[in-house]
Symmetry: C2
Subunit: 269 residues, 2 copies
């Protein structure tokens, strides 16, 4: 095989693997696609894997056996995560983000694909060992980052809706009290969205008192699924005791000072 052929094969292989994180491709699939021997492809996979590890671009996992193959897993090195979160905190700390009422405007960040891809890969890195079956979030603003997390895992997303939607069939609903504003809300999940017994990773954009996360916990119990982890992009420092115990914030919001127009937000990892 000529030098060019190997390079060509390796480019296509890298692209196809990276395009579908978590998806297990059998080596036979690639053998047919490239007209190459299995041993040749095994070597290619090793080379790609080495480069990815060297440049902190993720990992390739090989699964042996008849149902085996190779898959790309977008693990992020600690150093890369730290740098990214430091930069993100900087972006979120600009004074023009303060909204009357002392809220922090984050919507533009939450809806920027390039940033949310990274956040999804960080959540994947932190929660991969929990082997969830589904990623779950509550509408609306957390959906893009939850979806990118689901993508990094190669898992389906489940969205908890506020109110009932007829186009989704029979649903399970609960009422809950929002932690900070103390309003009563309802949330619901279509019966067919998730089978009982599933392992669920909850991902959301923001947590203050944890009322919504507590609501999800109650809803999960009602539906018979198991919340194995909860990740939020931004958690507030106060109240220190939230309505849920185990959750991982990537950033901690310490203070929004409307008078002095300062925002104190810091990486939590």
């Amino acid at each position: 095989m000529s030098k060019l052929r190997r390079t060509e094969r390796i480019i296509a292989l890298t692209k196809v693997l990276v395009d579908s994180p978590g998806h297990l491709f059998s080596l036979n699939y690639f053998c047919e696609l490239f007209g190459a021997a299995k041993s040749t492809l095994s070597e290619d996979v090793l080379t790609i894997r080495q480069v990815m590890l060297e440049f902190g671009l993720g990992n390739l996992e090989t699964v042996s056996g008849a149902a085996g193959g190779v898959r790309f897993r977008p693990f992020q090195p600690e150093q890369v995560i730290g740098d990214f979160l430091y930069e993100l905190a900087g972006k979120l700390a600009t004074p023009d983000r303060i909204i009357p009422g002392g809220f922090l405007y984050m919507t533009d960040i939450l809806f920027t694909p390039e940033l949310m891809v990274r956040v999804g890969e960080i959540f994947f890195t932190k929660f991969a060992h929990l082997t969830p079956d589904y990623v779950m979030t509550v509408e609306t603003k957390g959906i893009p980052l939850a979806f990118m997390t689901a993508r990094a895992f190669d898992l389906p997303l489940v969205i908890v809706r506020q109110g009932n939607k007829v186009t989704e069939g029979p649903s399970v609903s609960i009422s809950y009290v929002t932690g900070s504003a103390k309003r009563i809300q309802s949330m619901s999940l279509p019966r067919r969205a998730i089978p009982a017994g599933s392992r669920v990773l909850v991902i959301d954009d923001f947590m203050k008192a944890g009322g919504t996360a507590r609501g999800i916990l109650d809803l999960a119990q009602e539906v018979g699924v198991d919340i194995v982890g909860t990740g939020v992009l931004v958690g507030t420092a106060e109240p220190r005791v939230k309505l849920v115990r185990d959750y991982l914030p990537l950033l901690v919001l310490h203070e929004v000072d409307q008078e002095r127009k300062t925002i104190d937000i810091r990486p939590a990892l």
Copy 2:
């Protein structure tokens, strides 16, 4: 430069480019990252480009000049689009998707990352020539596919909300009549979400009469932005005349027969 070094460089280059569709990287950036000469990298880019075109994996565009560089653009070949939509129509035509009321359950498909990545790339392929500045959708179910479209373009997403949210500052709201159910709804957009004069691509999951799309058109006028295109994953065959004129459906839903438990849905491209 040894054979291995070139392969290594090409793997990392492919990964970095593919990871950020639409993002323009200067060749100097890669020169520093890999310690290689500009001419060497230009050759690498050519090789990667050839392989991508050969395997229908997208394209690499080089932009010349001081602010120039190279970027990955996930254009999909017609044949690949056709095959994918045919397969997707098959997935959506299973009788257990019929929900009382004659609705079609699509939520699981809409929330599966691997499928929505593909849909986003198809919308990109079809609308790239319109050079939008933003991708816009209405909450909730269309968000993942609109976000993946935004990612394929490297554009920010803007989500039109139902009702007002205090955490997003001053908003523009309109009332509209849903096309099929004839209910009055309101939708709103935060003032700071999008500058006047922007070119907007609207992406949604479903269109029946087009009431929501019509509402977005009115809201866009109020905000002073220009809708340059509208894409929906599924459009219904009836009513034939929608409340908006120009829209591109990827699939057309001809009939949901509750009695005979059949669904007639076909690729539109």
